[in-house]
Each structure stands twice: as C-alpha cells, then as structure tokens.
C-alpha cells in the first residue's frame, strides 16, 4: 500500500474514531450534545461570581474593543484552558481506556490519541463560536481576527496533543500518572492568569525585581495562550510578536517530541496493558 493510501485509510479511521468519541460521550443523556456547553458555562458562572466579585476592579476596560464584561474576559481564557486540559487528560487516558482494542487489533495507535483531541476540538469550536457571537452582541469586533483565532485553536490543540502523547505512554507504564496530573492541572490553573489578570503578577514582580518572577511566570505556554485568546476575542487586537512566536514554537516542539516518544514505545504497549 502506498503512503497516500495508508494515510487515506487512517483518515477514515480517525474520522470514525472521532465520531465515536463525540456521539458516544453524550448518548442517552437528556441534553445530549448540549452538555458539552453546560459544563464550561457552569464553570464560567462560578468563577465569574467568585472572582468577579473580588477582582472586578482589577480588570479594566479592554483596549481597543472597549468591552468591560468580567464574564467575557474570563471566558476568553477559561474556554481555551478547559479545552487544553481535556485534550491533555483524555489523550493521556486514550490508550489505557481502549486497552481491549489495543490488545486485540493492530492499527496505528496514534489514532486513538489524535481522535480524542479532534473530538474535543469539535466541542471547543462550538464553544468559541458561541463566545464570539456573545462578544459581537456586546459590541466587540472579533471577526477580523477569526483566522488568528482558528490558528490559535489549532496550536493549542497541538500543545495538548503533544503532552497527551507523552502522558499516554507514561500512563501505560505508571498508573499513578493520571492522579499526579489531576493535581498538576489544579496548580497549573492558578499559575495561569485566567481568573485574575497578569497585572497582579506584574505588580508582585516590581516589588521583588531580583527574583525574575515575571520571566519564569511567562515561560508557561498557557499564560501565552491566555494572552493570545484574550487579545483576539476580548480586546480585538494582535498579540505581541514574541508571544505569537512562543505559541508557535513551543507547541510544535512539544508535539514533535511527544510523537517521537509515543512512537518509540508504541510497539511495546500491548503487553503492558
């Protein structure tokens, strides 16, 4: 079979596996697919209530969009965060939760991880579309940046997928991985300016100039992604070039590395399950 043919069959497989993930997830629930929107909506409402109350004054009007709605400001970073963690954790579980298949059938294993990413990308696209519509209603102009938003979504998926590949391997060999990651995700959440603005950290950094707080803090790729999504959707401007470069280079490097690790261990997986 030629390489093109191989890719074509994989493409159908990817499509079918993704469909299985999407339709399987909410089958037999009354709300069905709507659940995928309810979840982020609930988180958004909770965080808006809790943090909006405390931090309202720290989040000034956006420039140049002029928006000043805490819930929208929050959502622009919260939705990408939820998406990212979903991609990473479901990628991590993809091999283990399909162990029956992996042990009994030969097929390219990466399709399991990729299809879980694609299924989340599907819900993410719906969520972001809804957010964009709401921003439009409130008078923002995010449509100009739509191509940028799409590219950022793909790059974020790339980052999550790359980490998902690494964690999928780790999870097969050490079942503790998933517990460890669930704690890490919580810490990571508060280490990223999602529910609070970056200015808060900048203030702290000014107080302790010798500690390089900001430099370290901004190495977090999710910090950069928050900036990018907020810039495009909420503030309606281009993010700084350094950040753009960062969110291109890091995800690509992570994916290449993750896929290499995955391929290295792929063949030995079946017997560890």
């Amino acid at each position: 079979m030629s390489l093109v043919g191989e890719l074509r069959t994989s493409q159908d497989l990817l499509l079918n596996l993704t469909k299985r993930e999407i339709t399987g997830k909410y089958k037999r629930t009354a709300l069905g697919q709507a659940w995928s929107l309810v979840n982020p909506l609930a988180q958004m409402a909770i965080y808006s209530l809790v943090f909006g109350f405390v931090l309202q004054n720290n989040v000034g009007p956006a420039h140049p969009s002029g928006l000043h709605v805490f819930a929208l400001w929050l959502s622009a970073a919260l939705l990408p965060w939820i998406f990212f963690t979903n991609v990473m954790t479901s990628g991590m579980a993809a091999i283990l939760s399909n162990s029956n298949l992996v042990k009994k059938v030969y097929f390219p294993r990466y399709t399991l991880v990729v299809s879980s990413t694609l299924s989340w990308l599907f819900t993410f696209a719906i969520e972001i579309s809804v957010l964009i519509v709401v921003v439009l209603i409130f008078g923002g102009m995010p449509l100009l940046y739509l191509p940028g938003i799409v590219i950022a979504m793909i790059l974020l998926a790339t980052l999550g997928l790359g980490l998902g590949f690494m964690l999928a391997v780790a999870n097969v060999y050490f079942r503790d991985t998933s517990h460890f990651i669930s704690i890490l995700v919580q810490v990571w959440f508060y280490a990223t300016p999602i529910v609070y603005p970056l200015t808060l950290i900048e203030g702290k950094a000014r107080d302790h100039p010798g500690w390089h707080i900001l430099t370290i803090y901004r190495m977090n790729p999710m910090e950069r992604f928050s900036e990018v999504f907020r810039a495009f959707i909420y503030e309606n401007r281009m993010p700084p070039t350094a950040t753009v470069l960062y969110v291109i280079v890091v995800p690509v490097v992570v994916l290449v590395l993750g896929f290499a690790i995955f391929q290295r261990f792929e063949g030995a997986m079946a017997e560890e399950l």
């Binding site: 074509r8 079918n16 298949l101 050490f174 079942r175 460890f180």
Partner: protein
C-alpha cells in the same frame, strides 16, 4: 513474488513477570533501575513458513504460546528476537467486536470496526450489505449494539472481520461461537477463502476440525516448536502425546494412593454391590487408555458384594469430553442377566471393532437391580480413554459408520488413506 505468505524467523518473545505487578511510580522509584522481575520466554526461536494458499494450524496445550505467536504475526506484539515477514495484507480475528462502542448502532459500529481493521469508507460502503446479510441481523442494524445478544454481537463482529478480505487471515479460537447455522456459514466462508487461494492461520483446540480443515500445522510446546509439517500427522501425534502425558499423571497418582480407590467425580448407590474397578482392555487383554478406531476392545467391571444378590444388571455408557452421551448399554437389554452373584467377580463387555472416531471419552458404569429402579452403585466418569486414528478413517464427528461411496465411476486415489 514468492509463494510464502508468512515467514517466521527465529522469533522469541519475552514477557517480564514482575514479582509484584505494581505499575506505580512509587514502586518504580523504590525498585530503582533494577526492577525485580523474571524473564519468561513465551516463544523461543520459533521458525517456520506458511505457504500462500494453505490453511495452517497452530496447536499446543494451554499456555504454549499460540495466541502470543498469532499476536506477533499480527504485529500486536513485537518480538524480542527474530522477525516475521508478511507477504500481503493481513487481518486477525482475535476477539470479535473488540472495537464496538455499546451505545452506537450496529450500522455505525460496522463503519467504526471496519476502519479499525483497515478498510476505508468506500470499501465498507461496497461491503455493507454483504456484511449485514452475513451477520443475519438486518432488523437490529440500527439498534445500539449493547442491546444485542452476545451471539449477535459476535456475528456482526465476525461478519465485519471476514469481509475485510485480507490475503492472510489469522483466527484464534473464535470458531466456537454463534449457533449451529452460523458456524456452518463461517466454515463455508473459510472454505471460500481457501478456494480463492488465500491463507488462513488457525488456533484451535478442536482437533477434529483442525484435522479436516488444515493442510499444514505447527505444534508448540512451552514456546518451542515441536514439529512443523503435514497437519494430519501432527494432530495425531499431538493427541497421542497428550495421552502419554495423562498416562504419566495417572501413574503418579496411582502410586500415591491406595489401590482400591477408584478415581471418580460422582458416585452414589445403596452399596449392596460395589464396583471395585473398571478397566478397558486391548486385543491382547492388557489394560489400556489408548485405543484406535476399529480396534477390538473389552470393558471389564470388577465388583464385590457382601451378601448374594439376585439378578443384578450391569450398565455402561460413554460420554465424550463435550458431554455428548455417545452410547449406553445394559446387561438386561443385552439379555445377559446372571441368576445370582456373590463375593468378588467381574463381567466383560466385548466390543468387536471400536466404532469411535478420534477423541477422548469417559466411561460411566453402574450396577442396578433387575427392575433398574434401585441403584447399587453408580460411577460417573470412572475411566478415561483416548481414541486415536485407526481404520476405517472417516472425515469427522464422533462415530465411525464405515460408509462406502458408490454410484459413480470413480477410481480410488493412488495414495491409500488407510494405514
């Protein structure tokens, strides 16, 4: 192109048997680099070739490495040494319907499973009707598969897998599923497959069907090849060998135990007459656990009674390992009822020519009163014996009918089948 479909070269597969299988980070850190495990070689230096168009059997005891070998050929497991060369496309039926999602409909699952097995959308579209037709569950095809009976589940799984139409098909003990009609359909499909010049590799413990289906076979024992070659010869040797093993076990057990205890897993009766021993004797009058089709044989029942008993009736029955009640006969129906027995004695049932095909059988023996309503002693599965290939040779099943084909002008082939 060569005429070898699969060539297995010096393949070894090692599994790590961890002292405590603890897949946790803590355990790994505590162990350090030197994890405590033992190497277990599930396959060792296995080499053989499977010619294109042959039906090839893998035989061996439980745990001898058959499934492991099949998985190595299917590329699910990676060999630690050696390599497998495959010539053509390959599909494996290791577990049917492994990729099914219970909440999705049969239709959706056909597409899903088909693509997992390597078909693209167009190929599945083209095969869809055939798949549904073969599975015979048209009316349920739009129901979620979790509502399927386990047989239906397997049927759909098999229908998808067999319609992948690979050059080489690997099958691991999945023949025994589904009802009789479906099994027949499967066999028909395999035959079609073979006629189309494709290669089939089968793992099975059903020696009868292996003998009739396969032309070549490999015999594995503890991960090593015992023999490769002509299927009939290997199957027969394997059965004989299994018999020898069991005979050895039996001797060991006999030595360890008092002589008079009969090995039984079911015994009842009032005990006025007791069956003290059951024997199967060959033509020379020696006790044996191995007979061949067509051999003369004698079944001897030894009994003991404290007080004299009038008109006892002795009964014998044969079951095969599947529990099929193959035969039964008692001495009243045989018109052989002694007026009175007392003390110790024995009674024989002579069989002029054993009309059983190859397999393993159990004897059931009993002694009852003349009305056959009062049981003195009943022994279930008191004696196990194997039947090996003999004469006449017939194709399959339990019994030999010594049938002859007539009515056409046909010459017997030059190679005689009989020994």
């Amino acid at each position: 192109m060569s005429d070898i479909a699969v060539s297995v070269n010096d393949v070894s597969k090692r599994f790590r048997m961890y002292a405590e299988r603890n897949q946790s980070l803590k355990a790994a850190l505590m162990r350090g680099r030197r994890a405590s495990y033992e190497d277990f070689w599930a396959l060792r230096d296995v080499s053989f070739e499977i010619p294109v168009g042959s039906t090839f059997g893998l035989i061996g005891e439980n745990g001898s490495g058959k499934s492991t070998l099949l998985k190595v050929i299917a590329r699910i497991l990676r060999p630690d040494q050696g390599a497998v060369a495959i010539n053509g496309s390959l599909a494996a039926l290791l577990e049917l319907g492994s990729g099914f999602h219970p909440e999705l409909s049969g239709r959706e699952n056909v597409y899903l499973n088909g693509s997992i097995l390597g078909m693209n959308r167009k190929q599945i579209d083209a095969k869809f009707d055939e798949i549904v037709d073969f599975s015979g569950i048209e009316t349920f095809i739009d129901q979620p598969v979790k509502n399927y009976s386990s047989g239906m589940y397997v049927r759909l799984g098999f229908a998808v897998a067999i319609n992948v139409d690979p050059d080489i098909l690997l099958v691991d003990e999945v023949l025994a599923v589904g009802d009789a009609t479906f099994q027949e359909k499967c066999m028909e499909k395999f035959a079609e497959f073979r006629r189309a010049g494709r290669t089939v590799v089968i793992v099975s413990h059903a020696m009868g069907s292996l003998r009739s289906m396969c032309d070549r076979a490999v015999w594995l024992r503890q991960g090593e090849v015992v023999r490769v070659g002509d299927a009939t010869g290997i199957v027969d040797d394997y059965i004989d060998d299994g018999h020898v093993e069991r005979e050895r076990d039996r001797e060991r057990r006999d030595e360890g135990q008092a002589r008079e205890t009969v090995i039984v897993d079911g015994r009842w009766g009032s005990g006025e007459v007791q069956l003290t021993d059951v024997e199967v004797l060959d033509a020379a009058g020696r006790k044996t656990h191995l007979l061949r089709t067509g051999d003369p044989a004698t079944i001897r029942l030894h009994f003991h009674c404290e007080r004299p008993i009038d008109k006892p009736v002795f009964g014998l029955a044969i079951e095969n390992l599947d529990g099929v009640y193959v035969w039964a006969h008692n001495s009243r129906d045989g018109d052989y009822v002694p007026e009175r027995i007392e003390g110790d004695g024995s009674v024989d049932l002579a069989i002029p020519a054993l009309p059983l095909q190859g397999g393993t059988f159990d004897l059931i023996a009993s002694v009852v009163d003349y009305t056959t309503t009062h049981v003195f002693d009943f022994l279930r599965h008191c004696y196990r014996f194997d039947v090996g290939e003999g004469y006449p040779r017939e194709s399959g099943g339990i019994v030999v009918l010594n049938g002859k084909w007539t009515g056409l002008d046909a010459k017997p082939s030059t190679a005689p089948i009989a020994r």
